[in-house]
């Protein structure tokens, strides 16, 4: 596609429920990142996928967070047993070195 697509754009969930956030990157971009942005804060790195290499999961805040990328394209970020501190905007980005990062419009997650 022409841009990075994320869905849903907004998600409200009850504490303790699981959520799945989806990212559909730009076709042909092999590198994909997930970031989290709390209100008024900068971007917090979560996980990075590059081609067929093992993902860099060093930014995942707890084992409740996981992500996968199927077929080198669509990625799903899963948060299990959501907590209120998980409330944030979750941004996905794909990248080529020349064009830099292209971001999706994010998913605003609210845990109530």
């Amino acid at each position: 596609g022409a841009g990075v697509s994320q869905s849903p754009s907004n998600k409200v969930t009850e504490k303790g429920k699981d959520v799945e956030l989806r990212c559909d990157p730009i076709s042909g971009h092999t590198a994909l990142y997930w970031y989290r942005q709390s209100l008024g804060q900068g971007l917090e790195f979560l996980i990075y996928f590059q081609g067929n290499s093992a993902p860099d999961k060093s930014g995942l805040p707890s084992d409740r967070f996981s992500a996968e990328r199927t077929g080198g394209s669509v990625s799903t970020l899963t948060i299990q047993r959501t907590q209120q501190e998980d409330s944030a905007v979750y941004l996905c980005a794909s990248i080529t070195p020349y064009y830099g990062y292209t971001f999706g419009s994010g998913t605003r997650l609210t845990v109530v």
Binding site: G42, F45, Q50, I95, P97, G100, Y101, F103, S105, G106
Partner: protein
């Protein structure tokens, strides 16, 4: 470790004025890229300008220009003839070897 520092949490200027946002970084790399991203209230991350470290010439994009001082590891953004639509969070980012390091952001408010 590579770091990016934006020392101005918030700035405000009158419409049509020129404003400069500061960014410094620390790295031992020689080849890297630097970016300025804009995030308006819509939360979409928008690439404003990019600079390759090997290029001595400062990048410019219409009203946006950078002052890249490689030896000083400084990468400031100048916005000329500021417009109300420039109101946003501005993030400086350093990229090398698929690692992207973000500054904490500067909130820029353009006053009418």
């Amino acid at each position: 470790a590579q770091t990016v520092t934006q020392s101005q949490p918030e700035m405000s200027v009158q419409e049509a004025e020129t404003v400069t946002l500061s960014c410094t970084y620390d790295t031992s790399e020689n080849n890297y890229y630097l970016f300025w991203y804009k995030q308006p209230p819509s939360r979409q991350m928008i690439l404003v300008i990019r600079q390759e470290a090997y290029k001595q010439q400062n990048a410019t994009e219409n009203r946006f220009s950078v002052n890249f001082q490689k030896a000083a590891k400084s990468f400031s953004l100048k916005i000329s003839d500021s417009q109300l639509g420039d109101t946003a969070m501005y993030f400086c980012a350093f990229y090398s070897n698929y690692q992207l390091i973000w500054g904490a952001g500067t909130k820029l408010i353009i006053k009418p």
